[in-house]
C-alpha cells in the first residue's frame, strides 16, 4: 500500500507525459505552440553545455542569495530580540520591502546596478525576497523559548550569551528551518525575476535562456529551460526538507512523529 502511494505521483506523471506526447502527435500541434515531451528532451540534449552552464549560473546566484538571506535574517532577528527599539524602528521598513512586489522593484534595481550587472541585480532581488521569511520566523522562534526554561536559566545566573546560545537559538531552530524552506524557493524566484525584467544584456541564467528562446520562438528550448528551473526548485526544497528532518527528528514533534 505504502509502496503504491509512493509510486502514485510517478505513475501519474508518466501517464500525463504519455498522453501529452500522444495527443500532440495525434492532433499535429505545431511545436512552437506545444512541443511534445520528446522534443523538449531533444532540445535539452541538443545543447547541454549552454543550458547546463545557465543552470549552474542560476544555482550559484540562488545559493549565494539564500546564504546571505539566512545569515542576515538570523543576525537581524537576534538584534531585533535584543533591542525592542531597533525592532520597532526597522520592522515597518522590512515589511514594506516584503510586501512590495519584487517584480516592481526589479527595473529600479537594474537602473541602479546597471544592465551590465544583471547578476548583481539577481543577487540583490533574490536576497530581498528570501530574507523576510528568515527574519520573521527566526524572530518568532527566538521569542518562543519556553518561559519556564527562561526562569531556569535566570535561576542559575546564565549570561545573555548563554541564554541566546543554549536556549533561544535551539528554540528557534524549527522556526528557522521552516523559514528556510520558504526562502529557498523565493530565492530562486528572485534570481529568475531580475533576468526576466532585464530582458537582454548580460544575463546568462536559465531565465535568460527562456527569454532568448521565446524571442526565437524556440518553444521546445523554453520548455527545456523551464524543466531545469523546476528541477532546481525541487532539489532545493528536497534538500532543505532533508536538513529539517535530520535536525529535528529526534526531538521535535513536527518531525519525530513521522512514521
Amino acid at each position: 500500500m505504502s509502496a503504491l502511494r509512493r509510486l502514485a505521483p510517478v505513475i501519474l506523471g508518466m501517464i500525463v507525459l504519455a498522453a501529452w506526447e500522444g495527443l500532440v502527435r495525434l492532433l499535429a500541434v505545431p511545436a512552437f505552440v506545444l512541443p511534445p515531451p520528446s522534443a523538449v528532451v531533444a532540445a535539452l540534449l541538443a545543447d547541454p553545455n549552454t543550458l547546463g552552464l545557465s543552470l549552474w549560473f542560476t544555482l550559484t546566484v540562488t545559493l549565494q542569495a539564500f546564504a546571505l538571506a539566512v545569515t542576515g535574517g538570523v543576525a537581524l532577528a537576534i538584534l531585533f530580540t535584543r533591542s525592542p527599539l531597533l525592532a520597532s524602528a526597522l520592522y515597518p521598513y522590512a515589511v514594506i520591502l516584503q510586501v512590495t512586489p519584487v517584480m516592481a522593484i526589479a527595473p529600479l534595481l537594474l537602473v541602479w546596478v546597471g544592465y551590465e550587472r544583471v547578476d548583481l541585480a539577481q543577487l540583490i532581488l533574490a536576497w530581498i525576497v528570501a530574507f523576510f521569511p528568515i527574519l520573521g520566523n527566526t524572530t518568532l522562534g527566538l521569542r518562543s523559548a519556553d518561559a519556564g526554561l527562561r526562569d531556569l536559566f535566570r535561576l542559575y545566573g546564565a549570561s545573555k550569551w548563554q541564554v541566546l546560545w543554549r536556549l533561544e537559538l535551539p528554540s528557534a531552530l524549527p522556526y528557522l528551518l521552516a523559514g528556510m524552506k520558504i526562502s529557498g524557493g523565493l530565492a530562486l524566484i528572485g534570481a529568475v525575476v531580475a533576468e526576466f525584467v532585464a530582458g537582454s544584456g548580460t544575463g546568462s541564467g536559465l531565465a535568460w535562456r527562456i527569454v532568448d528562446a521565446s524571442n526565437r520562438l524556440n518553444t521546445p528550448r523554453m520548455f527545456a529551460a523551464l524543466a531545469l528551473l523546476s528541477l532546481l526548485g525541487i532539489a532545493i526544497f528536497a534538500l532543505l526538507s532533508l536538513v529539517q528532518r535530520l535536525a529535528l527528528r529526534r526531538w521535535h514533534d513536527s518531525e519525530a512523529s513521522h512514521p
Binding site: 519556553d146 519556564g148 526554561l149 526562569d151 531556569l152 536559566f153 535566570r154 535561576l155 542559575y156 545566573g157 546564565a158 548563554q162 543554549r166 536556549l167 535551539p170 531552530l173 529526534r250 526531538w251 521535535h252 514533534d253 519525530a256
Partner: protein, 256 residues
Amino acid sequence: MMGQGPAPFLELQGVTKRFPNGTLALTDISLAVGDGEFLAIVGASGCGKSTILRHVAGLVAPTAGRITWSQPLAAGGVGMVFQEPTLMPWARIRDNVRLPLDLAKVPRAEADARVTALLAQVGLADYAQAYPRELSGGMKMRASIARALVTRPRLLLMDEPFAALDEITRQKLNDDLLALWREQRFTAMFVTHSVYEGVYLANRAIVMAPRPGRIHADIPLDLPYPRDEALRTDARYAAACRTVSLALADAMRGAA
C-alpha cells in the same frame, strides 16, 4: 519558629507583592525556614504559593519586605523543580541534567561524573542518552529533580511538581524525594494543593489563604521519618491531615 528546631536558614520578612496590573498577590509574608526543614506550602490555586517560591528563587522582587539568608549562597545554591518538567526538548536527558553545571562552567569530566551518579540515584541511569519526548511524565519529572539537585543545592524549591502525575507514580516519587532529602539534607520548600501529599512529605505545613495571599496557619508535623506506605494508614497521619484540612477550610472561608 520551632522551639527545638534548627537554626533559621532563610527568613522572609513582611514580603508583599503587588503585580503591575494591581493584583495584590502576597501580603505581609513573614516566615523563618530552618536549615534542613521540609516545608509544605498548602493552599488553593491562586493564593500565592508559587509566588512565594519565585521570590525565594530570586525570579521576582518583592514590592515591600525582604528576604534574608543566614549565609550567602553559592551559585547553584538553590534548585528548583517546576510544575512542568521544563526540560530542553532538543537535549538528551544527560545534557539536560548537566545544564546547571554547564552554565556555571564546571569542567566537563567532573560534571559528567555528577550527572551519572545522580541519574543512577533517581533511577534514570538507562535513559541518559534519551530525549525528553521518549520518557514518561514521571521519568521526565525525575530528570527535572536530578537537574535541580546536580549543583548540590542547600535549598530545593518545588512548585507542585507531581500535580500532573497519576497517583501511583506520584506516591513513588514522593518516597524517592524523601529518600533524597534524608540523604542529602537540603532544605525543601514544597508547594502543593494536596493536604495528603504535604503532610506525607513535610515536617511543617504552611497553610495559605487567598486574595490577597497570606499565611493563615503554621503547623508543625511531628510524624517520624523515615516515612513509607505504612504511614498512610497511621492514625497520627490521619490526625495531622485533619488538622491541616481544617486550617485550610478555615483559610478558604469567605474567600471562595
